[in-house]
């Protein structure tokens, strides 16, 4: 009943092109953001921040990056983890090698470095498509795994490839408590999400989608595939690089190359599939789903097992996690290839029309 557009008219193209064209949506999102900044810190305990919220925020950011490349530009990547690694290690090097480098600046520079590397590894996309490209991005993944493990300079001569950073600070605000970390990541995520939304609703986003949907036609109307694909790789890698740096600096504190392995790449891809390809909100849904599911299963499975008088070992939990995870991916691909975001949108559509079915 409240979700009605009666009496709301759009009289200019500007009004029609807003991010949230329906006022109810606009207010709801604004309320959500305010709640995230003010309400959540008052309600939630440390464990929640550390185990769920901070990883969720950072992985959302990374998923945004993957979504730009896979969902909007249609270039499958299995090398997202590599971009995160480049971001993290580049940021680390900027921080320790340049005196007085502010943390935020080195994180952003890490992102830029990831973008540069992303462009290089995006070059094969000009020649190959689809499955072949997926393999090309795997090359990037394995190369980066190797480089950060074997080339000592990147890790400041640490033998295991493991590096650590002290707590970071921002204009005198030292980010060390879980709440601080949460707010810092949230701030970055909000800004980056808005930017992503702006990009995809504008000319840039249309070029990406045009390349995704039909590249020959796109060239014929004057879109340069090289420019569009490489910008997608660059922007996507930038997001991933920043997310990688945050993951290292804020979430982990100290890390080794395994933190950004092929498993991470696959995980990010799954977030985008489950959340919704080609939808900004899908990145959040997907990240939330994948962060929460293992925790949920870890809590639930022993309980369920005890109901039937079964001892559920940790190994079994991890195996079952695999099974449920895989099944859910197949399930989503079958039921709704556009992910949770589309389910959400359909639900909203139904609400607008309610009580009529069509």
């Amino acid at each position: 009943m409240f979700y009605r557009e009666n009496g709301q008219f759009k009289t200019s193209y500007k009004a029609d092109q807003q991010v949230f064209a329906i006022p109810q949506d606009r207010w709801a999102i604004l309320a959500l953001v305010v709640f995230a900044f003010v309400g959540v810190p008052m309600l939630v305990d440390e464990y929640m921040f550390r185990a769920i919220l901070v990883p969720f925020l950072i992985l959302s950011l990374a998923a945004l990056g993957v979504n730009i490349l896979v969902g909007y530009c249609g270039q499958i990547t299995l090398g997202a983890g590599a971009s995160m690694a480049v971001g993290a290690y580049a940021a680390y090097n900027f921080m320790i090698r340049i005196d007085g480098m502010p943390a935020l600046a080195s994180i952003l520079l890490g992102g830029l470095m990831a973008a540069a590397v992303g462009i290089v590894f995006g070059v094969p996309s000009l020649r190959v498509r689809g499955l072949y490209l997926a393999v090309a991005t795997l090359a990037a993944q394995f190369f980066c795994d190797w480089a950060f493990l074997r080339i000592r300079w990147f890790t400041n001569d640490s033998s295991s490839g493991s590096v650590s950073v002290p707590d970071i600070s921002l204009f005198g605000w030292t980010i060390n408590s879980p709440t601080d970390k949460y707010l810092f990541c949230l701030g970055i995520l909000v800004v980056f999400s808005l930017m992503a939304k702006n990009l995809v609703r504008g000319n840039m986003g249309r070029q990406w989608m045009a390349i995704r949907d039909m590249d020959v036609a796109a060239t014929v109307i004057g879109i340069r595939p090289m420019y569009s694909k490489l910008t997608a790789f660059a922007v996507s890698s930038f997001y991933l690089g920043v997310a990688g740096a945050l993951w290292g600096f804020v979430n982990l504190g100290s890390w080794e190359p395994a933190a950004f392995s092929i498993d991470r790449s696959l995980q990010l891809l799954f977030m985008v599939i489950i959340g919704g390809m080609g939808a900004i909100s899908g990145s959040f849904f997907g990240a939330a789903f994948i962060v929460i599911l293992p925790i949920f299963l870890n809590q639930m499975l022993p309980l369920v097992g005890s109901l039937f008088g079964l001892e559920v070992s940790i190994a079994l939990v991890s195996h079952v996690e695999f099974i449920i995870f895989g099944s859910l991916i197949v399930f989503f691909l079958i039921v709704e290839p556009h992910g949770i975001a589309r389910l959400w949108a359909t639900g909203r559509e139904k609400l607008r029309l309610w009580p009529f079915p069509h």
């Binding site: 930017m195 702006n198 000319n203 949907d213 060239t219 014929v220 109307i221």
Partner: protein, 261 residues
């Protein structure tokens, strides 16, 4: 008819030959297109009509021959160059961007005219926003012109074939081209829809002075709306002239039209 004036030669194709892996798709074909005219290309399936369009707008590079567009010689043009020079086209098997709305599809046609850089777009400020609104207004004119207001926000993948063809035309028009290349714009349409399409093509030609090069199988349409017709058969040119001349050409009758037409 209004004061549409057929002008000078705008596009001149000289001795074009094209082959793929030994198969000769086009053999030594020459013809020209005059400014503001409607030029039809007809011929049996596999005669090389679509290849001809692909050569004109740079999707294929001919092994031999020359393309002269507005007095400038091109051994070949790439598609991007062709788009920049003012050539737009539609496709035989509709090549719309299926995941995007009608509006976004047409907006992509304005891509070459949009200048805001990525950073401006990311922050959606100043030039980026102004530009977006200006082009939206232009696109809305085209939407009005082709009478597709009601489906503006619909994803094109969901539209019936006939409307998709219209959106394809709208996207090409959004480029404000000098020459519009139409590849079977009326395939799979019934008479009523064909009439609509003819009206749009004639209006575009008439109001904007756009030159039209068109491939079409419906002889009724071709004979009624085109100024001159080229006939291809197995990659060779077998006829060229006004509709009446072509209709009377014995080669064309035996290769293509058949006795009943």
């Amino acid at each position: 008819m209004s004061g549409r004036k057929i002008g000078e030669v705008i596009l001149d194709l000289k001795n074009i030959s094209l082959s793929f892996g030994g198969v000769k798709a086009l053999q030594d074909i020459s013809f020209n297109v005059l400014e503001h005219e409607i030029r039809a290309i007809i011929g049996p399936n596999g005669a090389g009509k679509s290849s001809m369009l692909n050569v004109i707008n740079g999707v294929y590079t001919p092994q031999q021959g020359e393309i002269i567009f507005r007095g400038q010689h091109h051994a070949n043009m790439d598609s991007y160059g062709a788009a920049k020079a003012g050539l737009a086209r539609t496709f035989q098997n509709i090549a719309l961007f299926k995941g995007m709305s009608v509006l976004d599809n047409i907006m992509t046609g304005r891509n070459l005219k949009m200048k805001a850089n990525m950073l401006q777009q990311a922050f959606w400020f100043g030039p980026a926003q102004r530009e977006e609104l200006e082009h939206r207004a232009k696109v809305e004119e085209i939407i009005d012109f082709l009478e597709i207001q009601h489906i503006r926000k619909t994803p094109v993948g969901r539209l019936p074939y006939g409307l998709q063809k219209r959106v394809d035309l709208a996207r090409a028009l959004a480029m404000e081209p000098q020459i519009l290349l139409l590849d079977e714009p009326m395939a799979g349409m019934n008479v009523e829809e064909k009439q609509d399409m003819c009206r749009f093509i004639l209006d575009v030609n008439d109001q904007f002075g756009t030159t039209v090069v068109l491939i079409e199988h419906d002889m009724g349409v071709v004979m009624d709306i085109s100024d001159r017709v080229v006939v291809l058969d197995y990659g060779k040119k077998i006829g060229d002239g006004t509709p009446d001349e072509v209709r009377a050409n014995p080669d064309v009758i035996s290769a293509y039209l058949g006795a009943s037409h």
